[in-house]
């Protein structure tokens, strides 16, 4: 292979490097800003998803309410409660229910190691762990079926409660006194992002086996039913059937939206997913526009560079350069500048993203940093970006090159 011309091109490029520096920088900056923009966008969207599922995925929560319509001669304004027996009743009649768990709640003093705090205490069953994303930290566990059936005096703590009562020490196996009854700590909740809640974040709660809770609490009805349908698409159906079945049992109109208070996170999450999609489309659009602006800028600079070289091209043509040589040189130079700027943009963005990810996130403040400090670097986006911008830059290089190579050498020579 004859390397004479490539070497000559390289030589000429090096001599003009300073003039190309602006374009190289523009490409570097464009690459950096687009990659960062999309990395933060993706990271934000991903964090939203994580924190949204902090409460629990595909979850329907049902609480008793007050009727707002009169039904079969009964007046409106009646209190409706849900009872323990309703769990089996609903499970038998609605095959679409995958998991169902009760939850009752009270606010009790909790003390350990000479410290006392007031915290929400919940009685529930083993299924609650799955329903409400209750993942224990290493060395602990959540309430299991035996705890419930045998009425064990065991407690699962939110991480804030654990820290408030036990400090940095591991509370598992230690005693905690709730409403003057001693319990053994069996686990602590693993830290998680959670953006929706009903009695404060899970970090501040204490969970007991439903049976043990009922023994010291004198409330007959249960505060809340948690239901997970077999498929997310069945959530509306399950919700309606619960209304119909409980309406028949407790005699209220299934159409009465106040008789039962229902929180259907699946229906909510449809909305949230639409918002995430919206954010992503919005950022993609901004990215595309930035790309367009960048491409226009680069095209402009390339064009100016070509214009500046009109006379030089005239000289080369006059002394016998073929058209192909002129075009080749332009394209090689353009693509080299593109590769250089993009490469440094990529390296910088990649490292920045990974540096930012090293900053620890505070799980308790739910501040903006949890959403901003976890950008996601996507190689696919980079590849797509390189292809799109590569084509644009190639075009912006080839048109001035073709124009220059087709020009009449005399006119190019006269150009000042």
């Amino acid at each position: 292979m004859n390397l004479t011309l490539p070497r000559f091109f390289w030589n000429e490029y090096r001599k003009r490097r300073k003039k190309a520096a602006l374009i190289t920088f523009a490409l570097f900056w464009g690459t950096l800003s687009i990659l960062l923009l999309l990395a933060f966008g993706q990271g934000m969207s991903a964090q939203f998803r994580i924190s949204f599922s902090g409460l629990g995925q595909t979850l329907i929560m049902i609480t008793g309410g007050q009727t707002s319509l009169s039904f079969e001669g009964l007046p409106k304004g009646r209190q409706i409660r849900v009872y323990r027996e309703d769990i089996a009743y609903l499970r038998e009649r609605i095959p679409e229910i995958l998991v169902i768990a009760p939850e009752s709640y009270n606010n009790w003093p909790a003390s350990a190691g000479g410290k006392e705090v007031n915290r929400g205490v919940h009685g529930t069953t083993a299924e609650f762990a799955l329903l409400r994303s209750q993942v224990p930290q290493m060395g602990g566990r959540f309430i299991n079926a035996d705890d419930v059936s045998q009425g064990r005096k065991v407690a699962f703590l939110g991480w804030s409660v654990a820290r408030d009562l036990f400090g940095p020490a591991d509370p598992v196996g230690k005693q905690i006194v709730l409403n003057r009854v001693p319990f053994t700590v069996i686990g602590v909740l693993k830290k998680k992002l959670q953006d929706s809640m009903y009695q404060g974040p899970d970090a501040d709660q204490i969970y007991l086996p439903f049976s043990s809770f009922s023994m010291i609490d004198n409330q007959r009805y249960i505060d809340r039913l948690h239901i997970q349908p077999r498929e997310a698409g069945q959530s509306k159906l399950v919700e309606e059937r619960v209304r119909v079945l409980l309406g028949r049992k407790y005699r209220f109109d299934p159409a009465d939206r106040y008789a039962l208070s229902v929180w259907n996170t699946i229906e909510d999450s449809k909305e949230a997913l639409a918002i995430f999609k919206g954010i992503e489309i919005f950022l993609g659009l901004i990215g595309a526009l930035t790309l367009l602006i960048g491409a226009v800028g680069v095209t402009n600079l390339m064009y100016a560079l070509a214009k500046e070289r009109t006379k030089e091209i005239g000289v080369k043509l006059a002394i016998g350069a073929r058209r192909r040589v002129i075009v080749q040189q332009f394209i090689l130079e353009t693509m080299f500048i593109f590769a250089k700027g993009t490469f440094w943009g990529f390296i910088t963005a990649f490292n920045l993203v990974h540096l930012i990810r090293l900053v620890p996130v505070n799980y308790e403040s739910f501040g903006i940093e949890a959403y901003l400090l976890r950008p996601v670097f996507s190689l696919q986006i980079f590849v797509v970006y390189v292809i799109i911008l590569g084509v644009l830059v190639f075009l912006s290089g080839i048109f001035p090159a073709l124009r220059a190579s087709r020009s009449n050498p005399i006119e190019s020579l006269r150009y000042e």
């Binding site: 004479t4 006059a318 016998g320 350069a321 073929r322 009449n408």
Partner: protein, 220 residues
């Protein structure tokens, strides 16, 4: 060597058209040294561009070194310029960012001469114009006379049979001009065909024959 027969060149700018050459016939024999003279606008630059294959005539026949130029493609014309013609311009037209050496080497890069032969030839040419010691300098670091000598060396790089000089002394002081003319005269004596455009009588006196152009026609 050069045979022009009824050459016409018409420039069109929108609805206006300008007849720069109105039927020029001219013959230059091998080894001849001619000057083309004439006032501004007489068409001498246009004629020069056509002889130099930088431009094509609107009508007429042009035979260069027994090859017809009409009908050659852009790249074929480039090859003719590269091998058969050496150009010397009034304003030198050297590449500003390239060194003297690189400027002289340039025409050989476009026809694939190997590195050893290029090196030999550039060394020989720079010595011939007395600028070998200046080979690493850029044009802006050289005087006008030196630049034109570099341009001459470049024109001779591929050893073309014809040398076209468009006002070669136009931008030079008289002493540098004389030096350039001495080199041209020497080249002519060495057997090269030279066509020069000038409006300086003193310079044209060096040539064998003077062709006078007026208003797009050769004066008898």
């Amino acid at each position: 060597m050069i045979e022009l027969q009824g050459i016409k060149k018409i420039y069109r700018m929108g609805s206006q058209s300008l007849e720069a050459l109105r039927g020029v016939s001219l013959q230059v024999k091998k080894g001849e040294f001619i000057s083309i003279m004439g006032p501004s606008g007489s068409g001498k630059s246009t004629l020069m561009n056509i002889i130099g294959c930088l431009d094509t005539p609107t009508a007429g026949d042009y035979t260069l070194d027994s090859d017809r130029v009409a009908g050659l493609s852009f790249d074929q014309l480039a090859a003719v310029r590269n091998r058969k013609i050496g150009f010397v311009f009034q304003n030198f037209n050297l590449l500003p960012y390239a060194t003297a050496w690189e400027n002289v080497e340039l025409p050989m890069l476009f026809n694939g001469k190997n590195a050893r032969r290029r090196k030999e030839r550039v060394t020989q040419l720079l010595n011939a114009v007395g600028l070998y010691d200046w080979r690493g300098h850029r044009p802006t670091e050289l005087s006008g006379g030196q630049q034109q000598r570099i341009a001459l060396a470049r024109a001779l790089a591929n050893d073309p049979p014809i040398l076209l000089a468009d006002e070669p002394t136009g931008n030079l002081d008289s002493r540098s001009g004389e030096e350039i003319m001495d080199i041209l005269t020497e080249l002519w004596k060495g057997g090269r065909t030279i066509v020069m455009v000038t409006h300086n009588d003193h310079i044209s006196a060096r040539s064998q024959r003077i062709v006078r152009l007026f208003d797009g026609l050769v004066l008898p």
